[in-house]
């Protein structure tokens, strides 16, 4: 089983592929459950209007960390295919900055793995978000 498990990790400067495309990549006739998470850019942060967002990343290390995190998830849960896409560029409000999709035979595994992947991505993956407001911009993480 494990040799057939597929991993898709990619960083994009263009808009991310659709959720359908992502879920079809992880789908399989032997996996009954597909869990996904999409992070989309929001129009406000603590009451302030966000005009646009920009993501920057240390690309090669980000991919390396994502592969590590996925291996950790595979150690913890019986999951099948895994996809993690992140956008590194300006992202207009309402568009996806991250898509995660996991398939598994049983639903708990896929859901818990998705939660782990997004939590660890946010904690460890060298990617930074800059929010632009009417009165300036700020790198998130450093100034929160």
């Amino acid at each position: 089983m494990s040799t057939a498990n597929k991993t898709f990790v990619q960083l994009f400067t263009n808009p991310l592929p659709s959720l359908d495309e992502a879920s079809q990549l992880v789908a399989s006739d032997s996996a009954g459950a597909i869990s996904t998470f999409s992070g989309t850019t929001r129009d406000h942060f603590q009451g302030k209007q966000v005009l646009k967002l920009e993501y920057e990343g240390y690309g090669p290390m980000a991919e390396k960390i994502l592969q590590q995190i996925i291996m950790e998830a595979r150690d913890k849960w019986e999951i099948q295919h895994v996809l993690v896409y992140h956008r590194l560029s300006e992202v207009p409000i309402g568009e996806a900055s991250v898509i995660i999709a996991v398939s598994s035979a049983h639903r708990k595994e896929a859901m818990q793995a998705v939660e782990y992947l997004i939590d660890e991505l946010k904690a460890r993956c060298p990617i930074w978000k800059k929010e632009f407001y009417l009165d300036g911009s700020v790198w998130k993480g450093t100034c929160e």
């Binding site: 240390y58 090669p60 992140h86 991505l121 060298p126 930074w128 978000k129």
Partner: protein
């Protein structure tokens, strides 16, 4: 180490760190450890960068270095050292 006892390393700047340095990367000759690099960087870029460094981790060749291991982390020639401010992906 080189014959002169220092190592030539490339340092990468991202996000808030790059806003201060104004460049994405540069090369330094570092006598010994990551601790020495911190001295070189704060001498060059001052308090502003030191505040960032206090809250950042170094990654050497794409591996994080724990904060309390910095002074013990010896750099080699051609190491790629990145300053990783608190991340905010997702």
């Amino acid at each position: 180490m080189q014959e002169n006892g220092t190592s030539k390393v490339t340092v990468l700047y991202f996000a808030a760190a790059r806003d201060i340095t104004g460049i994405a990367s540069e090369t330094f000759s570092v006598p010994h450890s990551l601790g020495d690099l911190t001295s070189i960087l704060t001498t060059k870029y001052g308090e502003e960068l030191r505040k960032i460094l206090d809250h950042s981790l170094y990654a050497v060749n794409m591996d994080y270095v724990e904060k309390d291991l910095e002074t013990n982390t010896v750099l080699k020639d051609r190491d790629e050292v990145a300053i990783i401010p608190p991340v905010s992906g997702g």
